[in-house]
Assembly symmetry: C2
Homo-oligomer: 301 residues x 2
């Protein structure tokens, strides 16, 4: 299965250059800019359809007879032809991430807050207990795809710097294919919660605590240097654009949860804006496919 | 809606006496024995059907068009006609408990353990993060039913003694109807995890820490005395047979998750044997209805 069947590529948001997905790129090789995955939208429309057809297509994967087929019980991979059209099914690694509850707070509480209805998306229900389980399976599956289809790359594992959630997710997903991937994690010395440190260690990652004066930022700098020197370890920190792809599914899942009626507003923490980028990108493309007929407002704080 | 439409009653496992569900009973009023809910099995078969019909009935509630109707997105109330036939729908309180992931451990780990396949039922994915969210909504809904249909009982709230999970579940469910129910919790002083204590407090329960020489057992004794003197506070500790009813759904959900093919074995912690009783009872009745054609073995440790 070669790159010719893949209907997506990497695009630099600064210089606009395109790169076929036949090797691992953390940033743009030309200008070091951020990369984002871009799709052949015509191919997506041909596979998924638009409007009612697209809604039926996705509803069938989640609720219909197709729900029983791996990996449709994943709230991420359910959307594979939408977020990563043509990605080879046999390279997919899924741990039933996503399809988390959209929890409605009680009427009296919504009223106290001056709202008609308020829902909370329970992203902690995923395998490593954070929303990072949406992006990580895509990044790890893509590493597995590159390793298999491009053996010349010599991919041996994944690497990341982390204060907790990222390393937990990287460790759990690579543990499932420990026959093919090892996982290297740098954490800032004494600046990570025990529970999160234990997650990475319990799943067999090689964890190194670094007593760097710049804390996490220092670890991040070191792991980027490491990954540049050792391209056989795919860097799965948040600039990895495959993670953004997976995170696009949270907004898509919310509108599906609500029967394709978008909420008036979606509120999301900003962080480094990766999740916000993913949310917006997913919703804009959902509107383009007429899965939804209007965009919700976004509150990002 | 009176008791005549309810196709279930309380039965004492010691003296065998029956009690219609028109008041709250924590133990047998005649001999203080444990009560269990017993159903009119013919009524259940009339509503749910048997064999393929019963499977289709339940699958439609979970996956079919009916999934969108409250409270079918609950892994507990989905089974309402099976576990509590005739229970009035408008008394049901659901927070989307259950329908948790049945997580498959990686092949290499199953192999290391000498197993073909190993699944873990992720009960922590429920609202208060424990399996207590299966029994508690049934106990709380039944308190709401009794309060509404038998105003002479003067029901004001619920009460429990707890080292954590029970009070978290009691607090979260009663918080949703704080217009009708208050929640009183006794915890052993300094013998409860902060996170669990905060759950009960955050959901507005009245929490009292008791420095009793017998710890939790002392708290349990005190709350039983309190509930005996104040029957307007329904005691929702584990002897409350409505909680067992809700917990029956975990085994039912597992066999539904597996396409009605029971696993060879189900392993479950014993604790005070309430959950084990519920699991067995649910599976035995599932076999009686021909939802499954054989019983799995049980490992209870």
């Amino acid at each position: 299965m070669g790159a010719q069947t893949l209907h997506f590529w990497h695009e630099c948001i600064d210089c606009g250059h395109h790169f076929t997905p036949d090797k691992f790129l953390y940033t743009c090789p030309d200008c070091k800019g951020l990369l984002l995955v871009v799709r052949d939208e015509d191919a997506v429309k041909k596979i998924v359809g638009t409007g009612g057809h697209a809604r039926d297509y996705i509803d069938n994967l989640r609720y219909g007879a197709a729900r029983k087929r791996y990996p449709n019980d994943s709230g991420v991979w359910l959307w594979r032809q939408f977020v990563l059209p043509g990605f080879p099914e046999d390279a997919i690694l899924s741990l039933k991430e996503g399809q988390t509850d959209l929890f409605e707070v009680p009427e009296w509480l919504a009223k106290e807050l001056g709202l008609q209805k308020l829902f909370i998306k329970m992203e902690g229900q995923s395998p490593s207990e954070s929303f990072k389980d949406r992006g990580m399976p895509v990044a790890i599956s893509d590493a597995l795809r590159l390793q298999r289809d491009y053996p010349g790359l010599g991919i041996l594992g994944v690497s990341c710097a982390s204060t907790g959630d990222t390393s937990a997710a990287a460790a759990i997903y690579s543990a499932y294919r420990r026959d093919r991937l090892s996982c290297i994690v740098l954490v800032p010395h004494k600046k990570i919660a025990d529970a999160q440190l234990f997650q990475a260690m319990a799943y067999g990652a090689t964890v190194r605590a670094i007593d760097h004066p710049d804390g996490f930022d220092g670890c991040m700098k070191l792991i980027q240097e490491f990954a540049a020197q050792h391209p056989e370890y795919v860097l799965v920190n948040s600039k990895n654009d495959m993670r953004i792809v997976g995170q696009e599914t949270i907004g898509l899942e919310i509108v599906q949860d609500l029967g394709w009626q978008p909420p008036d507003w979606i509120s999301i923490p900003v962080g480094n804006a990766g999740n916000l980028t993913a949310l917006l990108n997913g919703l804009l493309r959902a509107k383009d496919l007429q899965l939804i007929d209007r965009l919700p407002g976004i509150i990002a704080g």
